[in-house]
Structure formats: structure tokens, C-alpha cells
């Protein structure tokens, strides 16, 4: 009986771990050998290094506070996609099917951005951003414990262009 409970526990943990970032992983694997796509994967091991660090400046402290709560990040992005609209639609459809809740959508002449989250017991465990422009496409997944108020700071400090859309969360919060 103990073994069955243990096996169920291990399976549920494995399933949970697999679930995080799984939608982006699909695109990561699909475009793994396509050099026109930039793929970035940062593991929990990397983020765990930040938990014991102390920042010297306020910016550093804030950055470490945000980043130490993260367990992983995956980015798939391209500046030149042959069918950006199709790829964007396919990605947002996959995100919706996987049970993510829509948080924010921005549509303008240049690009469409959709930010979705997965929440459990009031805690945001994953944030997925999908962006599609005339030629561009980006998909970002952040998982761990996510504070929406701090996510925009992360975007500013990591200096990754794909994360610039997360600044919309701060602007949205101010309105």
C-alpha cells in the first residue's frame, strides 16, 4: 500500500513538473534546429543560485527577489517568420487548450500580444506570453512563484527584447 501511495506521489510530482513550461517546450522542440528561431531555456538550477545572494543596490535586491522565486524560463522567438499570424494563432490555441487563463491582450497595427497565467490557490505558477507581429513571433514562459507587480521589473533588468511585452503588465496596473 505504501508503495502504491509513493508511486502515485512520484507520478503526480513528475506530471506537475512536466506540466510547467510544457506548451512552450513543444515549440522549443519543434524549432530546435531552426536557426531563425532563438530558443532560451533557463533551468531551476540557475534560478536556485540566486536564492542565497544578497544585492548591494536596491535594483539588485529587487532583481534577486523576483528571480529567486522563479523555477524556470523558456523563450522561443524569431524576427522573421514566414507565417507569423498562423503561428500566433496556433500558439494561443495551444495555450488556451492547456487551461491557461487569459490575463491581458494587446492588439495594435504592429502586433498582437496575449498574456495568460496558470493559477493555483491564488498563486500564479506560470505566465505565458505569446506575441505575433508582421514578421515576428515570440513565446515566453516563466514558471515558479510569480508576482505580477514585479514581473515588469524582471523584463527591464534582464534586457531581453522578448520580455519587453511584460512591461505592459505594469502599464496595465497603473491604469
Amino acid at each position: 500500500m505504501k508503495k502504491i501511495v509513493l508511486t502515485m506521489f512520484v507520478l503526480s510530482v513528475a506530471g506537475y513538473a512536466f506540466g510547467q513550461g510544457a506548451v512552450v517546450s513543444k515549440y522549443f522542440d519543434k524549432y530546435e534546429n531552426d536557426e531563425t528561431f532563438t530558443k532560451v531555456s533557463v533551468s531551476s538550477k540557475m534560478f536556485s543560485l540566486f536564492t542565497e545572494m544578497e544585492g548591494n543596490t536596491e535594483d539588485e535586491k529587487e532583481f534577486l527577489d523576483v528571480i529567486s522565486k522563479l523555477k524556470g524560463m523558456k523563450v522561443v522567438a524569431s524576427e522573421k517568420v514566414s507565417d507569423p499570424k498562423g503561428l500566433y494563432n496556433s500558439a494561443i490555441s495551444d495555450v488556451a487548450k492547456a487551461g491557461y487563463e487569459e490575463l491581458m491582450t494587446v492588439k495594435d497595427a504592429e502586433e498582437n500580444v496575449k498574456i495568460s497565467i496558470k493559477e493555483k490557490d491564488g498563486i500564479i505558477e506560470e505566465l505565458i506570453l505569446v506575441a505575433g507581429g508582421k514578421e515576428k513571433f515570440a513565446m515566453v514562459s516563466l514558471y515558479g512563484i510569480i508576482d505580477l507587480k514585479q514581473v515588469s521589473k524582471l523584463a527591464s533588468m534582464m534586457r531581453m527584447s522578448e520580455l519587453k511585452y511584460l512591461k505592459n503588465l505594469e502599464e496595465d496596473g497603473k491604469n
Partner: protein, 161 residues
């Protein structure tokens, strides 16, 4: 008896550390572009030396780094894209993924405790590195900017451009 055990332990520890470093050496030594192109090897003192402008942030960044080895790999290895093959040997001894970046540029970093190994490849060039020590990761963007600037010796800058 205690002293003997301690000595044996110290020897075993040093052997295991050397073994970890030897994986990259065994891989990269025969793949140097030319026989006279030696790997770059840095210790804290030499890392501080390359900081020509004596930027205190840079010194702070490298303070707890014990050793850095940088190998430039030959064109055959770059063309065949086999520059990541040695990482599998490190993974076999417990090294885990820290970061992967793929695209026009390829960066892979894996690590175990205070040892990190990885590859950086772009525009037909590739380098493999081994680093032992502590790094303040929040300052990595500063380190990369410093390496890309002309504040450090051109020899180093070339490896990162």
C-alpha cells in the same frame, strides 16, 4: 591514523577535481585550431590583471573565481557541430543544465556545485570553457558587457565577440 585518512581524503578529492577538469581538456586539446594556440587559463590574479581600467565591479565579479579555462575550437569541430559532445560526459558525472540558448548563437552551460562548463558558438566560431568557483550571477550581464568592451585585453575581447 587520522592524519593518514585525512591525507587519503584530500588526495581523493583533488583527483576527482582534476578528473572533472580533464574531461574538457581531453576533448578540447586535440581540437585546438593550431598547435601553438594555447587555451586561455585565468586565476583570480590574472583575471584582475586583464581589467585594465581597474573597474571595481569587474574585480568584485571575479573575486571568488578559482580558475577559468577557455579553449577555442577548430573549424572542423565547428562545422560538424560536435562542440557540445563533451557536455554529455559531464552530465554522466552529475552536471545539470543551467542555461541553454539556441539559434544563430549557441550557448550551453551546465554545472555541478561550484564547477561550470559550457560552450559558446556563433558565426563559425566556437569556444568551450570550464570555470571553478563562485560567480555573482546577477552581475553576469556586466561581465559580458565588460568582455565585449575594449576595456579588457583585445586577446580576451576576441574570444567573446
Amino acid at each position: 591514523m587520522k592524519k593518514l585518512s585525512l591525507l587519503a581524503f584530500a588526495l581523493l578529492l583533488s583527483c576527482s577535481l582534476l578528473a572533472q577538469e580533464s574531461i574538457i581538456k581531453d576533448f578540447a586539446e586535440p581540437r585546438r585550431p593550431t598547435r601553438w594556440m594555447n587555451p586561455l587559463c585565468f586565476y583570480p590574479s590574472t583575471l584582475r590583471m586583464i581589467n585594465i581600467t581597474q573597474d571595481p565591479n569587474f574585480n568584485e565579479l571575479v573575486n571568488d573565481i578559482e580558475k577559468v579555462l577557455i579553449y577555442t575550437l577548430d573549424s572542423a569541430t565547428v562545422a560538424s557541430k560536435t562542440y557540445t559532445s563533451f557536455l554529455k560526459d559531464y552530465e554522466a558525472v552529475g552536471y545539470e543544465e543551467y542555461m541553454t540558448m539556441l539559434g544563430q548563437q549557441e550557448i550551453r552551460i551546465i554545472g555541478k556545485k561550484q564547477e561550470y562548463v559550457g560552450v559558446m558558438a556563433s558565426e563559425g566560431r566556437a569556444m568551450a570553457f570550464y570555470l571553478r568557483g563562485d560567480i555573482p550571477f546577477a552581475k553576469i550581464p556586466t561581465l559580458i558587457q565588460t568582455f565585449q568592451s575594449d576595456d579588457v585585453l583585445p586577446m580576451i575581447t576576441e574570444q567573446f565577440k
